[in-house]
Symmetry: C2
Subunit: 387 residues, 2 copies
Amino acid sequence: MNNFTLHTPTKILFGKGQVAQLREQLPSDARILITYGGGSVVRTGLLAQIRDELAGMTLFEFGGIEPNPTYETLMGAVALARAERIDFLLAVGGGSVLDGTKFIAAAAHYDEARDPWHILETVGNEVRSAIPLGAVLTLPATGSEMNMGAVVTRRSTGDKVHFFSPFVMPRFAVLDPVLTYTLPARQVANGVVDAFIHILEQYLTYPVNAKVQDRFAEGLLLTLVEEGPKALVEPENYEVRANIMWSATMALNGLIGAGVPQDWATHMLGHELTALHGLDHAQTLAVVLPALLQAKRQQKHAKLLQYAERVWDLRSGSESDRIDGAIAATRDFFERMGVKTRLRDYGLSELGIDTLIGKLAEHGMTAIGEHGDIDLVQSQHIYEAAW
Amino acid sequence: MNNFTLHTPTKILFGKGQVAQLREQLPSDARILITYGGGSVVRTGLLAQIRDELAGMTLFEFGGIEPNPTYETLMGAVALARAERIDFLLAVGGGSVLDGTKFIAAAAHYDEARDPWHILETVGNEVRSAIPLGAVLTLPATGSEMNMGAVVTRRSTGDKVHFFSPFVMPRFAVLDPVLTYTLPARQVANGVVDAFIHILEQYLTYPVNAKVQDRFAEGLLLTLVEEGPKALVEPENYEVRANIMWSATMALNGLIGAGVPQDWATHMLGHELTALHGLDHAQTLAVVLPALLQAKRQQKHAKLLQYAERVWDLRSGSESDRIDGAIAATRDFFERMGVKTRLRDYGLSELGIDTLIGKLAEHGMTAIGEHGDIDLVQSQHIYEAAW
């Protein structure tokens, strides 16, 4: 096991009706900016419910944060937060709203003489403070509700990049599985696939004898395999929704990644596919991952066998067969969730490989994966295999 | 899954050499009281190392906190903390030092007109502040380094009781597996058994379809079963020590107990055995648990079967046989760790059942377990079966 530091101070309020505890999580005299996305929280009545819960407090609102939230949109909220001297941000939505709100939080406190895009360029290292934030989660997927990372896209340049800062770790997150009942199937499926691949990015590397982290990861994977398909056919099954929601948070709150090597190459390759072709985040992961696992099957040999046995119950046949079986079972799981696993199935006319590789190079992604051995040549190979 | 609130702000610094990060965890102008136990941290040189790391800071020391820390001893530290206006406590030791330090932290801030024993009598509900505290852990067992609970004994009356308060949650905990190399085998064994039973108290109840919590619990149990015996024969195997240390912390930091029913009757019955007969905490648990599982096998039926299958790989035979097999395997595991599982093996001349039951009644333990259905009659039956 590698050395690690783990600090996860987000307070979790999990379960049916927990929005009722929102008021006591917020400073009573705060100037609060509620951030949200494309309007589903208006249609479902959640935003109105939150306004009721917080009646009498000083509230502002900023809607319209899009999937893969853009710098261009978020800078509007940064201006509002500065103008209104906002001192608490309440994100209501999924991972995109959360990530966007983290950027708003850091950017509003950033040196006004500098373009806050610099926060992304320096991966958050220069963030020295941020507006405190909390969240009401409506889409289990990204784990952003309990971590310090965020991904932001700049529309003008097609860049999709991340930053990390402990200052943007949410103070609290309300996780009510009931709020996920009304999600479209595509978002449910994307969320399950996203969480599943977050786990694999921290698990399918090489062994360091971290038994707790491995078994926690496997427990989350098994839970998503069992519950994911059920969520599609029984959208109002509370227990199913609860297990998925808690799995997705645990998938990326630092716990299973503490003290183990991490990969994240699938994400890096996926980000460029979203930026270039507009695929959903989870769709990009579902097409890249199986191709990447095939390409790195030697380097990931031991963990692929462990994954085959403990998650897919593949215990017989040659080692090579078991690894093929595990990769096929992974692909099949994504397809059963309704997420296609080959780029050609998304109606693209061409891969655009030169642009993808050019953007990877521009973003410094020339030596990625847990060994730093995925160079641009291998990335091209993986993109082509993902077609 | 039941609703829950989970808030675990303790910062974990895990791994070899992490004591070197101690200084930056502490306020530079703090008046720090280092608390420790019977002197092993003096003999191993850890205390001297910590003094070196913190050279130039304002340090005080209080040693002699005993296993099952007593109110009588701890009140000496409370007086010191008040007199010296201590504003940070650094616990160096195992669960007893941690628990004792939590009491010191709360008692030093308690209304001076009242006896701090009242903190225990009100289970911590009246604690409104405490001296902030951090820990350097030397014995993986109790999980106290990452939770808000503590158990304190009053020697004069033979009471062993607990309290909880978010104000005594450690700010940080240094977990260096190397520090556990020199532990006596008995303490290693006790620690593994203690952690194992902490997990069972939160797992072996009845199903609420909390798949993540169940699988996390099972992952910890499997890790302890695999690594516990190895620690006895290979005391300087870093990976073994690391897996045990992390398992013990995860066993009782709130995570696996969030949203599920909990039992804790084994602990309640065990506390009286320590108070009356002076058995080690883990020894009391190891004798009570098998007897309790037999007594409650109907109420715990479904989870006992799950435990039999997933932890002990018992998949064939009748349900009753599998449950017997799981209880026998549990007992056998404790015995292999060198912890005897029958009271008569501890050289006692008599059970002292009247005193035990009287103390349970005095402490209000008349309806315990996850269903509140273990009354004094059943407790007597369990004690007798544990003989």
